[in-house]
């Protein structure tokens, strides 16, 4: 057996997800992808349930709209948009790299994605709160 042989990569067990020692940036991208994904699935079903208010007619829906325009809901909208940007931009990077596009540049793309997510989140927050 060669001394220089690289150790065979071993798949992490799910319990090791919470072991954060010695992680690289790719891990944080993976974790952000998983957590934002779970959050967005929960949001999707919450959204579909709330839309059921539409079947109860104008009174019920417009009551919800008034509530949804309160500052706390607007702050949650910003959280949603941050989740969409993180998941969407990183997902785009994963799709490109997965199809063999820009593989050597994947880390550059990650940082471009982070920068875009920050800029677009701030712009969205400004747009949301300036509308009131």
């Amino acid at each position: 057996m060669s001394v220089n042989a690289k150790p065979k990569p071993v798949a992490r067990k799910p319990i090791q997800w919470i072991d954060l020692r010695g992680r690289r940036v790719g891990f944080w991208a993976y974790l952000a992808m998983r957590l934002s994904g779970i959050g967005l699935v929960v949001y999707l079903y919450l959204h579909l349930v709330i839309l059921n208010q539409l079947t109860a007619g104008p009174g019920a829906w417009d009551g919800f709209v008034a509530l949804a325009r309160s500052p706390i809901f607007l702050a949650l909208d910003v959280v949603l948009i941050i989740g969409l940007l993180v998941h969407g931009l990183n997902g785009l990077r994963l799709a490109l790299v997965g199809f063999g596009i820009g593989v050597p540049r994947h880390k550059t793309m990650l940082w471009i994605g982070v920068a875009l997510a920050v800029i677009l989140s701030v712009l969205s927050a400004l747009a949301i709160f300036s509308k009131g």
Binding site: V41, T55, P58, R69, D77, L94
Partner: protein, 123 residues
């Protein structure tokens, strides 16, 4: 053993390709959804009358219907990917796939029912 490994890898790469394709589609679909439902709409959210008018527009009816189908597919494939990370047994995985398929079809049927209920309401 070798054959089994190959089959499993092929199956997971197919779901990965589907996840990537639906993912890119969702970016476009959710982009238009967010802009027209929440940024163009006055006050960030449509009133009842505006929702009805919006969903009765053929273009947006088509757009939102495709969005519903693609986003449900992408979301449940994502849930499946997370579940597979836990190293499910083959038999458990098969049952889980069926459960997700039923949830997915149920979600789309519910969404379509909701859409056409709103469209056909008279008041």
């Amino acid at each position: 053993m070798m054959q089994k490994t190959l089959t499993r890898e092929r199956a997971s790469s197919w779901s990965w390709i589907l996840q990537a394709i639906t993912g890119v589609l969702v970016i476009v679909l959710v982009g238009v959804h967010m802009i027209f439902q929440h940024f163009v709409a006055a006050g960030g959210l449509r009133t009842y009358a505006d929702v009805v008018a919006y969903i009765r527009t053929p273009f947006f009816l088509g757009w939102e219907t495709i969005f519903l189908i693609v986003v449900t597919w992408h979301a449940l494939l994502g849930v499946r990917a997370i579940a597979l990370d836990f190293g499910l047994k083959r038999s458990v995985e098969r049952v889980f796939n069926w459960i997700l398929t039923i949830i997915g079809v149920g979600t789309i049927v519910y969404g379509l029912w909701l859409t056409f209920t709103v469209i056909s309401r008279t008041s």
